[in-house]
């Protein structure tokens, strides 16, 4: 790594980490979460970056270098089909297989009790021993290769466990190298480390699914509550072991379903266990990037209960100016540049909007420039370029 690149990286790391702590760095950092957009820019299909992770890493590096991103994620096309194909997850449709090579992968959720991966009478088993439940019951249901406990074993079953494990090791090892290349080739910081889901969210998507949980909260509310409590220490452990050992960049909580339920449901099931996990992470010196998909403004009064600087509040669909007024003194804010503007606006409109956000939300520091949601292939290249230009032109303090 050249001295110049090291210097650039150090400057960016300092800029980013000061902003994460709601401080005022030398300028607003540019931290873009970009998925299929990177493939479009680098000249790859979605199929290529979903199947061939080195192309995905390379596409991100090309964007990071050309758009001068201070921080980004090595690969936001998070479903690597090598793992999915060998282990056999049923819930994804993959570009180049069931989907056109030029569209992003899709998650398909079971729509009824019969097809649900976790059945309504299995809460006790989940609560009793979450990991055993996943390995023995849930995994054989979500994989087209595995056989359930008690069924005659198959070669396919054995190979799926073997290849799934090997594929994951292969991918995670490559991720480590990709983080290093992002640093040494681009001087760009790997923006996040570690993964977290809210216990209720995981129940409401990959375990029971949205429709089934919507029934369970009425038919067996105590079991839903206990399941969230049972999952909590496991989600915390998973977040801790995947977090940044240097504790510089945050764990991200990808929040899906919390805004789709009533306040009663949020207050009883969603919030208590999520709050506890975030508090525990913060006690261990780890910040959480609150990546609320959709409009989370109605739950701001709960989010505001968290300790100062414990989270970075990412804005998707809500009014970023209002969010800043309400919680900008406690937490850094990221995002808020609408994806439809990146897809349908002009570069000047993008620059103007970024300028307004930078000069209002970022006025006293604590703002990290990013799109509202992960940037897909619909974003215009010239508009993503305009975001960087806005940060460079208007973001200096």
């Amino acid at each position: 790594m050249s001295e110049d690149m090291q210097k650039l990286y150090d400057e960016r790391l300092k800029r980013y980490t000061i902003a994460l702590k709601n401080g005022k760095p030398d300028r607003v950092p540019i931290r873009i979460f970009a998925a299929e957009f990177t493939a479009k820019y680098a000249g790859y299909t979605s199929q290529e970056v979903t199947h061939q992770y080195n192309k995905a890493f390379e596409a991100v590096r090309k964007c990071a270098k050309d758009f001068n991103w201070d921080a980004t994620v090595i690969n936001m096309v998070y479903v690597w089909s090598g793992l999915v194909d060998h282990f056999g997850q049923k819930y994804y449709k993959i570009p180049g297989i069931e989907l056109d090579p030029n569209v992003g992968f899709q998650y398909f959720e079971p729509k009824d009790e019969e097809s649900a991966f976790m059945k309504e009478n299995e809460y006790d088993a989940l609560i009793e021993s979450p990991t055993e439940y996943l390995a023995n019951i849930w995994m054989p249901r979500i994989s087209s290769n595995l056989v359930p406990i008690g069924a005659p074993n198959t070669f396919r079953n054995n190979m799926a466990w073997l290849k799934g494990g090997i594929a994951m090791m292969d991918y995670f090892a490559a991720c480590g190298e990709a983080v290093n290349l992002l640093k040494t080739e681009c001087g760009t910081v790997s923006a996040i480390a570690g993964i977290l889901k809210a216990p209720f969210d995981i129940l409401a998507d990959k375990l029971r699914g949205f429709r089934q949980v919507s029934v369970d909260i009425h038919r067996q509310p105590e079991k839903v509550e206990k399941a969230c409590e049972a999952l909590m220490p496991y989600m915390l452990q998973n977040a801790m072991v995947t977090s940044d050992p240097a504790k510089q960049v945050p764990v991200t909580v990808w929040l899906h379903r919390g805004t789709m339920f009533s306040e009663y449901v949020y207050e009883r099931y969603f919030w208590p266990t999520l709050k506890e996990i975030i508090l525990q992470l913060y006690k261990n010196g780890i910040q959480t990037l609150w990546y609320g998909e959709g409009n989370w403004s109605k739950w701001l009064k709960y989010t505001a209960e968290l300790p100062e600087k414990s989270i970075i509040y990412h804005v998707d669909k809500e009014d970023i100016f209002e969010a800043h007024k309400k919680i900008g003194d406690k937490f850094a804010i990221s995002g808020g540049i609408p994806n439809d503007l990146l897809a349908f606006g002009s570069p000047q409109e993008v620059k103007d909007y970024c300028k307004k956000v930078i000069q209002t939300v970022g006025k006293d520091g604590g703002y990290i420039l990013d799109a509202s949601a992960i940037v897909q292939s619909d974003a215009k290249i010239e508009n993503v370029k305009a975001m960087t230009e806005a940060a460079l032109e208007y973001g200096a303090y």
């Binding site: 390995a135 799934g164 994951m168």
Partner: protein, 75 residues
């Protein structure tokens, strides 16, 4: 049968050995699949440094556990 009576009956059956609470039903900590304490009892004897064996057992446990939870949370 009431809930309390069922609980008492279960406890009595466990005490009498009618229901066996096997080792693999021990509550394990998050991040652990097969606790070292369980594995340790399976060795007929350990002639060398037990701590070395334990460390490697637990190191791979963390990775294997991550596989299961990563399928749920990441993939």
């Amino acid at each position: 049968m009431g809930l309390i009576n069922k609980f008492l009956l279960l406890k009595i059956l466990i005490m009498l050995g009618v229901i066996n609470m096997s080792e693999d039903k021990i509550k394990v900590k998050p991040g652990v699949l097969i606790p070292w304490e369980v594995r340790e009892k399976e060795y007929e004897k350990i002639l060398g440094d037990k701590e070395i064996i334990k460390q490697e057992w637990e190191r791979i446990e963390v990775i294997a556990n991550r596989f299961i939870w990563a399928i749920l949370t990441d993939f």
